[in-house]
Amino acid sequence: MAEKNENEGNAWYNVLQRIDRRIISLVVFLLVSIPFFVSIPVRMEISPVVKSLYDKVEMIAEENKRSGEEKVVLLAMAWSPSVKAENEPQTAAMIEHLFRRGVKFILMSHVLPEGPLMAERIAETTAKRLGKKYGEDWVNFGYRRMATADFRAFVEDIYVMIEKDFRGTPIRDVPVMKNVSSLRDVALVFCVTGSSAHYWWIFYAQPVVRCDIGVGVTAIIGPEVRPLIDAGQVVGMMEGLSGAAQYEQLLKNPARGTRGMASQNLVHLWVIVAMALGNIGYVMERRRRKERMKELE
């Protein structure tokens, strides 16, 4: 009887349920690494939420051209190196789009200090390629810690909280800030975050200045933003790496997001396969158990 039980334990359906987590992790590692060496083409269907964000930036560019007004976009960089894999391609895609369409933008963060630093590097690299200049095409306020009260004051009047950019230049002397004094002069706030930093803009900025808000968030946070899109509080979203890849596809500029999607592609398939294996084993074990119960009766 004990021998029979031991054989049951080693039965293929039980083995399927007990695959060592090291093997599972090893397969993940291999699947993530393969696209580094083998080029896997990625072509995605564009999600409506990504398209609406893209269309919003296009609309701002067209409006600026038509009216000659030069509204700017504020990029709130509330992300840190830990979420770089998802948020960096989103930031890069948005900066590329804004540079291409000649829409000036502001980089800043009041939540995490690393975001504006990493975004500045992206902006400088992209600017070199597209012939853009700091001060005329973008400005970086850097990190300025703000509590709720400070943030509310900032929303009404930017100059109350920010005097200089991250290079030490008074922001009144920066050409980008020529027609900008409060968030009312900002056409879009694009918040890139791996946490809940977008709520600052939705709760404290939007009710006051009625600005449009777009977000670039990690895939984990994406579901939380969906009700906000439904309610019209958020105009569009880049959700995780796939959101960035879709945005790059709209720009016809495959970059980090698209390259990363190849790895994500394979790992998602492995998750489905692993779950299927576990469940095949589980269902077969249940069936065998029922058969044994019948035999004993």
């Binding site: 840190s80 830990s82 979420v83 509310r152 791996g194 946490s195 709760f203 404290y204 009710p207 006051v208 990690t218 984990i220 946070i221 579901p223 939380e224």
Partner: protein, 259 residues
Amino acid sequence: MHATYAMMILIGVFCGPIVYYILVARAGRQIYIRPIPGLSAIDEAVGRATEMGRPVLYSTGLSYLNIIGLCSVAILSHVARLAARYDLRIVVPVNTYLLYPIAEESVREAYADEGKLDLFNAEDVLYVPGQFPYAAAVVGLMHREKPAANFFFGYFAAESLILAEAGSQVGAIQVAGTPDILQLPFFITACDYTIIGEEYYAATAYLTREPTMIGSLRGQDMGKVVMTTFVVLMFVFAILMGIWPGVFRSNWIVEMLLR
């Protein structure tokens, strides 16, 4: 940013029943609240740690000094008191500098109240800043200290699954509670008991069974009933607007509420 008429109505809708039921509960009426398995399991988990002679780990996550953090410290106080009663060590890694002195004081006083101040070790309440440094530190703690029970109460972000899986690997019984929706799937998958959404805020009421607090729980449920009824009525109204737009108009409602 100031309240619109809609906000003021909502404040009345939610706060009114809370105040009413607090008064009702204080008047002596018995109010039933359903069992919350996760909170009942706290005693069981500490008991298991006592039997195994291993410490207890309590993580406040990334909680800041707000109601989530304060609620976490309140539950920590309860757990620390139980740990002190059974002569157990409790290890408390804290991520936020604002919450750290409160957590340390709370654990110290829990031990003092049980007359076991000599068992309290200030080094067991650690300050570990940064999200992923915190996760790495807690995982290391779990593998070294091998706690028999892990408690995760507070605000958690992406590190939640790292903590829960590491705890599962060392074989600890795990109870998690967070009001944040996004981490619930990870806690439900990896922990033995999970406390969801408003159950987290009800923890202190549930653990103390104080009539005032039970009354406020009933009051908040009644507020939700009123709100849900209103949502259903507006849903019906929206359908009627679609069918008879000339008869059912929404403009005056919207204008009044947004003023």
